[in-house]
Amino acid sequence: MSDVLSDAGDLSGEEESQEDVLTPAELIARLEEAWLNEKFSPELLENKSEMVECVMEQLTHMEQNLQRVKKGDLKAGIHRVEIDRIRFVLSSYLRSRIQKIEKFFPHVLEKEKSRGDGDPSFLSPEEFAFAKEYLANTETYLKAVALRHMPPNLQTVDMLKAVPEPCLDSFVFLRVKERQENILVEPETDEQSEYVVDLDEGSQHLMRYRTIAPLVASGAVQLI
């Protein structure tokens, strides 16, 4: 039975953009990074559907192998625990994205609308469909319970104004993965002046998300 379970070989990104070949272990590490970043960033981050698909593939593959193993096998039990753990991270990651979509739906859709042709979408196709439906349902509901009873000139609500935008000026905790120099820290009060900090590898910081948002996207810092 060891043969059926010993095939955790390299998996190559078959799709265009993925030039680097990830081992399954690296893939899981990426998933965990994405999970924490998504949990702690005030805005919805770029979707990683390619990564999600690769993880799903790994899980399905491993589960298929396990079906051939008899119950009570020690090795299979350990594999099952690992699968459950990965599945937990994956669901929690997707769920925190859904929560943000529900929280910011008009803004998420607006960003998607104004996206240039070549730019990558922030939403997976499923998330996009979800966001659209969420908007439609909210509007229908508001109309049914309140708006239709209003005078005709007050029967619309501008969702973009009514739903608060993500606050990019929120503070976040982060750990540095790749050293960064000269990060500008803007002053909080008139008496202070702006200054720059170097972010050493492995160091941890508390600062505004706006300042380091590009570093989260590039993977140079990890939100914690």
Binding site: Q99, A162, V163, P164
Partner: protein, 211 residues
């Protein structure tokens, strides 16, 4: 992150108001002392002290924030909004002396929210109001933090009694951080519980069966 499926919209804080925030809706009902600077025809029913059909120019009356904001115009003199007493100079001095002694719930309960909203009405004292509101928050922070992070498993009603709504929200955030940790430490989080949504759904089904 909260695992509940429904997340209430938080108040806007500052000059911004959130349309779907219950706190901001309540805040918009706060009354402001105003003086009319033109006659308001056929709105006499809003002013109970007078039987006349119109509200004449120069009438002193209280208006909810939402109405005052809607009627106020910078370019035209329609309405003058006076400062409620806790934002006037006398109280500002008290606040800057020691912000922790003040009962902000009694004065407020939307001290920070209303103070920020007042800035819409171009008072010459705006800078001082904004400054006092900010310094009051900073001056009371330590106390809010300590009380929310130290009270475990005790009645907190006395601790929150004198807090403004915003501070109460912070107090709750601090408490949930503390309680979360404490119950984790005692091993109480190892049991999974069904989400409220599921529990309520089951209840509804039972109710349907019974009816």
């Amino acid at each position: 992150m909260d695992t509940q499926s429904y997340m209430p919209v938080p108040p806007g804080v500052g000059t911004e108001e959130n349309f779907f925030s219950l706190d901001d809706i309540l805040l918009s009902q706060e009354r402001l002392p105003c003086r009319t600077e033109m006659a308001f025809p056929r709105l006499g029913f809003l002013e109970k002290s007078n039987d006349s059909q119109d509200i004449p120019e120069g009438t002193k009356m209280e208006m909810p924030l939402w109405l005052a904001k809607g009627l106020y115009e910078r370019k035209r003199r329609v309405l003058a909004v006076e400062l409620p007493k806790m934002y006037r100079e006398g109280w500002r001095t008290v606040f800057s002396a020691d912000p922790t002694v003040v009962d902000l719930h009694k004065m407020g309960p939307y001290y920070y929210g209303l103070g920020s909203q007042l800035l819409h009405f171009d008072s010459p004292e705006n800078t001082e109001i904004a400054q006092t509101v900010l310094q009051t928050f900073i001056g009371r922070f330590r106390r809010t933090m300590d009380s929310s992070q130290n009270a475990y498993n005790e009645d907190t009603s006395a601790l929150v009694e004198r807090l403004d709504c915003l501070e109460r929200a912070l107090f709750r955030a601090g408490q949930s951080g503390l309680n979360g940790f404490q119950s984790w430490e005692k091993g109480r989080t190892s049991h999974l519980t069904a989400s409220n949504l599921v529990i309520n759904y089951r209840k509804r089904k039972i109710a349907e069966v019974q009816s």
